[in-house]
Structures are given as C-alpha cells and as structure tokens.
Amino acid sequence: MKTIVTTLAAAWIASAATTLAAEIGKPAPAFTTKNTAGETVQLADFKGKVVVLEWANFECPFVKKHYSSGNLPKLQESATAKGVVWLTVNSSAQGKQGYLEPAKMAERAKQEGNKASHFLMDTDGSVGKAYGAKVTPHLFIICKDGMLRYDGAIDSKATTKAEDVATADKWFADALDAVVAGKDVSNAKNPPYGCGVKY
C-alpha cells in the first residue's frame, strides 16, 4: 500500500513539475536528465548553489553570435569560477536542427569554447518544457534557495551581429551578479530572443 501511495505521489509531483510553468520567485522546476558523458544530472545535485540554465543550439545564428564573440564562454568561465553551476542545455529532438549525438555534442561544445559545468542532452525536451524554454539562447538563474530568479534574454539587443554584444545592456550578466550577491534582480523576466527550441 505504502509503495502504491509513494508511486502515485511521485507521479503527481512529476506531472506537477511539468505542468506548472517556471515562475520567478517560486521553486525552480526539478529535473533529471543526462549530460553529454551519459551521467545522470539532477537539479537536486546542486542544492545550495546558484545555478544557470542556458538553452543552446549551435546552428542558431543568435547562439553563434554569443559564442563567436566569446560572450558566453567568458560568462561561463567567470560564473563557474565563482562557484555558480552552469548548465548548458540542448533540447533539440533527434533529427531536428541543433541535435548532435552526445559524443559529437561534447566535441562541438568544446570547439565553441563552452565552459559549462555540464552540457545536458535534453533530447526528449522535458527540461525545456518544464522551464518554458522558448528560444536559443534563453537564460534562467536559480538562487541558492532553489528559487527561480531570472527568466529571459542574454542581453538587450535582439540581433545576430557579434558587434552588438559590446553595446547591449547586459540583462543576464547583471541579474547573475545580483543573485550571486544575494540582491534583488530588477529585470527578472523579459522576452528572450533567438531561434525556436526545436522540440
């Protein structure tokens, strides 16, 4: 009887995690998935840490802008140096643009200069759908208490030009600084720009 109740409860919680959209100020949706090395990664693994989720698709011109300019690799490097857990996520379904099988994805990520703590293969799209990831890049920040603190664009200039990175307002970077410092985020939710996630 106990097992049945626990299983039912787990199923209810799991479905709740996917039907409740991620909301600023609420607990960030739990997830379990695999990284490019085939290891299981769960949000619960990072309890007590600031976590960044960055949706990526290396074929998208908006993602190319932020990798070719070095913007994302630099952000990843400085964030992880401060103890932030950075999770790059690819939610492309198999056969859709941006999908690469795990070993090839790891290689491609390395070529692009990606410095994330883990590169998550969200091929079934469950993590993306739990968070409401719409485009690439789409950035989320979770504070040490597990609350969602940022859901939005990487910066203010919705273009594909690498030269716009220097002059854009750094919405995501500013939000991350605030979360790391334990301060309020002033621009916590804004429309992300990019190519649609290829669920």
Binding site: E59, C60, P61, F62, K96, Q97, G132, K134, V135, G152, A158, T159, T160, K161, K189, N190, P191, P192, Y193, G194, C195, G196, V197, K198, Y199
Partner: protein, 273 residues
C-alpha cells in the same frame, strides 16, 4: 556632357532596383520615379521576397523572431520619413507564435530631397532581416542603393507597385473609433467605441498587437458586439510588465477591407495634480 548624362541615366535604370540574394530572401529598393524636384518627395519602397517556406517578421515579431532593421545612408539634406509596415499575417515557427510576412512584402518609405538638390544623388539603405522556417533561422543583409536625378518626377515601372503597397499599410482610425484598455488580472479588457455606432463589424477583423509585451501572441483576439461598443478580453503577454501604458492594435480583414490601426495611451499616467 551628353555622355555623362547618358551614363547617369543608365546608372539610374540599374540602381532603381538593386537586388541582393541571401538569407533566404532577395531584397530590392524600388523608386516610383527616377527624378525628384529640389525639396520634393520621392516615393520608394523596400521589396523583400522570401524563398518559399520561409518567413520574416513584423514590427512586433511575436515569440522570438526579429524585426526588420533599416539603416539609412543618405547624403546631406536628404530626409527619410520612416518605413511603413504592411499589416502582418499570423503564423507559427515550430512551437512559437509569430507575426510577419511570407512571399513578397513591399514596405513603403517616403524620402525628401534637400531644397538645393541638383545633379544626382546616390542614396543608400542597409536592410537586415531574419528568415525562418520550422527547421532553421538565417539572417540576411542587403546594402541597397538608388541614384536619383534632380528634376520633375518621371514615373518609373515601379510606381504602381509602390502605390499598391501603400494600400496594405494600416490606416489610422482613431478619429472614427476610440480604443480603451483596462487591466483585469492576467487579462486586458479592450473596448472599441465607434464614433458612429452600427457602421462597422469589428468582429470580422483579426487583431495584431504592434506594441511589445502587451497581448499574448499565442491567443488570437476577436471583438464581440456589446450594444453600442465592441469588447474583447485578451490574455496578457507572458512577458508583460504591468501597468500597460500604451497599446497599438492593427486590424486586418482580408483584401476587401483596408487594414486599420487604433491607439490607446493611458491618460492617467504621469499626470500631476
């Protein structure tokens, strides 16, 4: 001298319609006339032809996407009045809901020559766009040019195209109907009050928000009659940051009804007593 005039005329003919193919589209800059009087206006239009299956985006692209970008490169004294956007269509890019264009879109722009315009002028315009289909997005860019000669207007082969394009631009309707907006939790209550009641069927119009972060692009809005007025309840954009202070709505109803635009501004905002 005659040879120079001839050379200029040839240059005019080719530059009247400068083409550039990439980003799944071809862009061109059309002029309604090869000539323009000093201080006069020159009707032009940017024509963007998307490859089949690809689309580009409106001034409010919806979810994701990217609006068109225009950078004028005009000689001293020339003024550009701004690009006019034809009424968009609604479409989906994978799971995203968007507003924009497919096939060919022609965007009018009126230029004004300086009072002392003489000889000829080379006008430049940089256009940037994003073209997407369900599989991919590609950026496009075109550096377009027009050469114009000072003198009375001489209608070109593109004059008709440009005139037709002007009919696809939403016409301000604020003197014929008043739009009002009031918040209602996660929705906006929209009311249209016609100046002359009973004249229009606002239910037949498709509604497009031109203002970002207002109406949810995923939820099409239709107005329903309520006595003398028309009402709609529109869910707020997921990224709306209330209070909404202004709203521009574009209304389309097919080829027989010219598109319209209504504007609302929160009159209570910023008033000091």
């Amino acid at each position: 001298m005659l040879r120079n005039c001839l050379a200029l005329t040839l240059a005019c003919a080719t530059n009247l319609f400068a083409q550039s193919p990439n980003g799944q589209a071809a862009a061109g800059w059309l002029a309604a006339s090869s000539h323009c009087p000093p201080g006069g206006t020159l009707e032009t239009a940017v024509r963007l032809t998307l490859n089949p299956g690809w689309h580009t985006y409106w001034i409010h692209p919806g979810e994701g996407g990217m609006p068109l970008e225009f950078q004028w490169q005009l000689p001293d004294g020339w003024q550009a009045g701004g690009i006019s956007y034809p009424a968009p269509q609604r479409f989906k890019t994978g799971t995203l809901h968007n507003f924009g264009y497919e096939g060919t879109v022609v965007l009018p722009a009126t230029l004004t020559a300086p009072a002392g315009f003489s000889g000829s002028a080379r006008l430049g315009l940089l256009v940037r766009w994003l073209a997407c289909d369900d599989e991919a997005c590609v950026p496009g860019e075109a550096s377009l040019q027009l050469t114009v000669t000072a003198g009375p207007h001489v209608p070109s082969e593109h004059a008709t195209t440009i005139n037709q394009a002007k009919k696809t631009i939403p016409q301000p309707w604020n003197d014929r109907a008043k739009l009002s907006v009031s918040p209602d939790g996660k929705n906006l209550e929209l009311t249209i009050e016609p100046v002359t009641p009973g004249q229009d069927d606002w239910n037949r119009f498709e509604v497009f928000p031109a203002t970002q972060r207002t109406l949810d692009p995923r939820s099409p809005v239709r107005f329903a009659r309520d006595g003398r007025v028309w009402r709609a309840r529109a869910p707020l954009d997921e990224y709306a940051a209330p209070p909404i202070r202004e709203l521009r709505l574009v209304f389309t109803a097919g080829p027989d009804a010219p598109p319209r635009v209504l504007d609302w501004t929160d009159q209570g905002a910023g008033t000091t007593r």
